[in-house]
């Protein structure tokens, strides 16, 4: 038996969350005394493919078909199912993402597998196979048992430390047969903001709320983000008012982030916002109201006016970088 990881890339660059999933898979493989492999779909360079080995994978199957560069859900599911078979795998690991979730759900049926998402730790495999996952949008955890032979685990960020000391993986070309129906959903165009760090991937996130007063003040958020090497986010009313694009909205109904550091500026800390950030390792809150509920969820807080604090903080960070 072996473990296989569905690895995503952004225009040929392997995603960091996928490397985390690969690290999870290699830790699990070690626990079970089996081999962990990966599968990559679409156009990716040999170097990028082999780099997946740093996270502990022995082999990557590469399906070099440019029709798979875009996230065609059904086609990806069919290709990954064939890689799963080829590897003789009984476990599929993937990082949570908008594409990964959609692909894995189809695979659960194709592979007749038990699928658990939002996994936060390695499974316990002595006796029954149980795994810990985050539920109620981060407000609790569940210990869930998988009763099928085949298993799919959707891994949340920070579930295991990133492994970086593995040897380059050997790359094997894999041919797959895709059905005609696999391309029934036709992607007509893609509209993507360039040169920014994608929010769900970011290790540091700086978010602004209604306390920032208007879009004209976002340079303060962006300057701090730049100094920290962070992605920018916002609260829901901010994206609802069109101050920021929708894909930056963090929370229960938006993006869920799990960075090492989350900085919230002028955000009150409503429970729906907290639901999207409670998996962060460290939280900094900057708010002029000492009673703002966000301080209860924070590690570090500054009570003060964002318009005064942000420029000072940005300068102080630039000075040490």
């Amino acid at each position: 038996m072996s473990i296989i990881v569905y690895i995503e890339h952004i225009e040929g660059a392997i995603k960091k969350t996928s490397l985390e999933a690969a690290s999870y898979a290699s830790a699990l493989a070690e626990q079970q005394g089996v081999d962990a492999k990966g599968v990559v779909l679409g156009t990716v360079s040999e170097d990028q493919l082999a780099s997946v080995g740093t996270a502990g994978l022995s082999t990557v199957y590469h399906v070099n078909d440019d029709q798979l560069n875009a996230g065609v859900i059904q086609a990806h599911a069919e290709a990954v199912a064939q890689a799963f078979e080829k590897a003789g795998a009984d476990t599929l690991i993937l990082a949570k993402s908008s594409l990964g979730d959609a692909v894995a759900a189809r695979l659960a049926v194709k592979l007749d597998a038990g699928y658990i998402s939002n996994v936060v730790a390695l499974p316990s495999t002595s006796g029954t196979y149980t795994v810990k996952r985050s539920i109620y949008t981060g407000k609790a955890f569940a210990e869930s048992e998988i009763t099928k032979t085949n298993k799919i685990l959707g891994v949340k960020k920070n579930a295991v430390p990133l492994k970086t000391d593995g040897a380059p993986a050997s790359v094997e070309a894999l041919e797959v047969n895709l059905s005609e129906g696999a391309f029934a959903a036709k992607i007509t165009s893609i509209d993507k903001a360039n040169d920014e760090i994608p929010l769900p991937e970011a290790d540091i996130v700086v978010s602004g709320g209604r306390g920032m007063k208007g879009p004209e003040n976002w340079n303060l958020i962006e300057d701090l983000a730049k100094a920290l090497g962070a992605a920018t986010g916002c609260s829901k009313p901010v994206s609802d008012s069109g101050w920021r694009p929708h894909h930056e909205h963090v929370g229960q109904t938006g993006v869920k982030v799990a960075p090492t550091l989350y900085v919230a500026v002028g955000i009150s800390g409503a429970i729906q916002h907290l639901a999207g950030v409670n998996a962060s390792k460290y939280i900094v809150v900057i708010n002029k109201d000492p009673e703002a509920p966000f301080f209860k969820a924070a590690d570090y807080g500054i009570v003060g006016d964002a318009f005064e604090v942000l420029p000072k903080l940005t300068e102080a960070i630039k000075a040490v970088k």
Binding site: Q74, S98, D101, V109, A140, T260, F295
Partner: protein
Amino acid sequence: MKILVCITHVPDTTSKIQFTDNNTKFDKTGVQYIIGPYDDYALARAVELRDQTGGKLTVLNVGEAETEPTLRKALAIGADEAVRINAEPTDAFFVATQIANHAKEIGYDMILMGRESIDFNGGMVHGMVAELLGMPSVSPVMKLDLEGDTAKIAREIEGGKEYLEIKLPFVAGCQEPIAEWKIPNMRGIMSARSKPLQVQELSGDVVATKTVAYEMPPAKGAVKLIDSNNVQELVELLKSEAKVL
């Protein structure tokens, strides 16, 4: 046009989550239940599309009798009929099998769901149903328009959007801003009382996972407050404790 919207009956987003029976059962005491927020988006768009094309809009929940007020609310918002499949929804694969078996009998043109439920956040039921029915699936959907038998869809991807065209039938997991949530009005609430709500028994009993215990996250320590005139102290903490600098 026959549209199906699958809705969850979930604790209100502000609910305090607690467990009983030695952390093996969700504590329902004092919990307000709502239509899942993403399901509410799917329902709102489905009402608009039904009004535009005519036909019938069915809402479905896999759940026990306690979920009926939530189904009635969906009827008040504008669904034409409701179906409850009488079972405790313990596992996504089990729920998906129930939905797919029902859908096979009726032959819906479009099945809309929420991008994810807010209790277990799996985001998996729509993909499973689509695979079981051999239909395309797409999620998370932010925009959905119909032109004849083709849907024009915008799907959220990291840092942007992807535009797609799909021929009916298909399954979609929806999120904002696909439509504005609809609040039931008095007439809706009155008419919901007489709209049909059918209870169906199970059709298949396959389970792939089961939850054995729950756990609360460790309590957060108190916040370290830093004087706004001394941001240097924060920088030091980010360096020495959080190790991000």
